[in-house]
Symmetry: C2
Subunit: 229 residues, 2 copies
C-alpha cells in the first residue's frame, strides 16, 4: 500500500480535529512526518501545502508550521453552465430567448465594464427552464470589441454562456451573490410575485484589462447554492 498525500492530510486533519494537535501547536517537521508515514517527503509537503492553502495550518519560514488558532475557512463554489447544472439534477433543460439588442452602453454600465460613452454593447435576455418550470432568468451585456462575432450571433436556439466559453477560452471574473426583490418583469418570467426575494449572482468577466461581459442570473424562489468545505 502506497501512502498518498491524501492519507497524510486526512490523518493530520484527524489529529487536529481530535485536539491531539491543538490550535497553536508546532507541527513535526516534514522529514520526521515522512519517516512516520513511510512516504516521500514530497508527499508530506503536498499534504501540508493543502492544509496551508485551506487555512488550517500556518507555515512560517524558519519558524515551522503551526496549527492555526482561528482557521481561515474558505468555501469553493463551482460556477457551472446552467444547462449542465439543470441536467445534473436529471431535469430536462429548456431555453428561450426573450430579447437581443445592440445598443449604446447604458450609463450605469460604463464604470462596471470600463467602457467609453457611445461604445456599443449587445444585451441578451433569456430564460432557462428545468422540467418546464422557470429556473433562471439571465440578463447579459457583451462587449463586441472583445468578441466582434457577437454582432452576428442571434442566440435563438441556445444561450450566450456556452457560446462565449467557446469564443473566449479563458478570462478572469468577479462574482457577487445577493438577494433581490423580483421586479414585475422578472416575476412574470419566473412565475412568482413582484417583490419576492430571489437569489442573484452577478458576474463580470475580463480578458486581461478588457471587459467581456456582465451577467445577472436570477434564480427561482427558494434556490440555494450549497457547498461543503
Amino acid at each position: 500500500m502506497t501512502v498518498t498525500f491524501k492519507d497524510v492530510k486526512a490523518d493530520l486533519l484527524d489529529q487536529i480535529a481530535r485536539g491531539v494537535m491543538a490550535p497553536g501547536t508546532l507541527m513535526p517537521n516534514e522529514m520526521d512526518l515522512a519517516e512516520k508515514y513511510g512516504c516521500a517527503r514530497a508527499t508530506v509537503n503536498r499534504a501540508m501545502r493543502e492544509l496551508a492553502d485551506e487555512g488550517i495550518v500556518e507555515r512560517k519560514r524558519k519558524a515551522g508550521t503551526r496549527v492555526r488558532k482561528a482557521p481561515i475557512r474558505q468555501a469553493r463554489f463551482s460556477i457551472p453552465i446552467v444547462r449542465e447544472e439543470i441536467e445534473a439534477q436529471r431535469a430536462e433543460y429548456r431555453y428561450a430567448l426573450i430579447d437581443r439588442s445592440v445598443m449604446d452602453v447604458p450609463d450605469w454600465l460604463l464604470g462596471r465594464l470600463a467602457l467609453e460613452p457611445g461604445q456599443q454593447v449587445v444585451r441578451v435576455v433569456c430564460m432557462h427552464w428545468a422540467d418546464g418550470i422557470p429556473y433562471q432568468h439571465e440578463e447579459r451585456w457583451i462587449n463586441p470589441e472583445v468578441v466582434p462575432s457577437v454582432l452576428k450571433a442571434d442566440f435563438a436556439k441556445s444561450g450566450p454562456n456556452e457560446w462565449l466559453l467557446a469564443e473566449v477560452p479563458f478570462s478572469n471574473a468577479e462574482i457577487s451573490f445577493s438577494a433581490v426583490e423580483a421586479t414585475q418583469d422578472i416575476a412574470d418570467h419566473m412565475g412568482c410575485f413582484a417583490g419576492n426575494a430571489l437569489f442573484r449572482t452577478e458576474r463580470t468577466t475580463w480578458l486581461r484589462e478588457t471587459a467581456v461581459t456582465l451577467v445577472r442570473l436570477t434564480y427561482r424562489r427558494g434556490h440555494r447554492m450549497t457547498t461543503k468545505y
Copy 2:
C-alpha cells in the same frame, strides 16, 4: 532570476487567454516546458497541477494534458468571523445578545443536525452592528453533546462564533447561500420592512460524524458577497 511555478502558470494562462493554446489543444509535456522556462520539472508540475485544480486544463493518464473546452470555474469565498469582516471595512463593531435558551431540539432541526428527539440544544440569537447600523442577524443552535461548556456560556459580551472556534478547533461544514423575505421579527432587528429580500448564509458544522452547530446569518438589505476568480 529564479523561475517560479507562478511565473510558469501565468505564462501558460496568458497563452491560453490569447488563444495560442486553444481549447482542446494538447499541451507540451512537462520536460519540454521545464527546458523552455529554464526551471525544474517539479516547478512545471506544480503550475500544471494548479491549472488542473482550477479546471482550466484536463490531465489524463498517458493521453497528456489538454486545455479544457469548457473550463470548470470555481469561486472561493472566505468565511470570515463577522467581527473581522466588519473591522476589515474599518467600521466599528458592536454586538448584542437577543436571546439564549436551552431547549429540546425542535422537530425541523432533528434531521439537519442528526439528533434524536428529546436531545437538548442551546439556541442563541444575536445581532452584529457596523458603525451603529444593523449588519447581521445571527440565529444559532449548538449541540451541547459536542461542546458541554456551551451550557455555561452566556454570550452576553461576545458572540458564539469566536467562542466555538476556540472550543472546537477544526470541523467540516456545509454552507448554503440563499435569499429570504424578512420576517417581522428580523425586520425589526435589521431596521428594514417585513418581506424585504435579504441575503442569508446557512452553515452546518460537523466534528467528524456529530453536528456541532447550525447557524443562519441574515445580512442587511443590499448586502453582496463578492470574490474574484
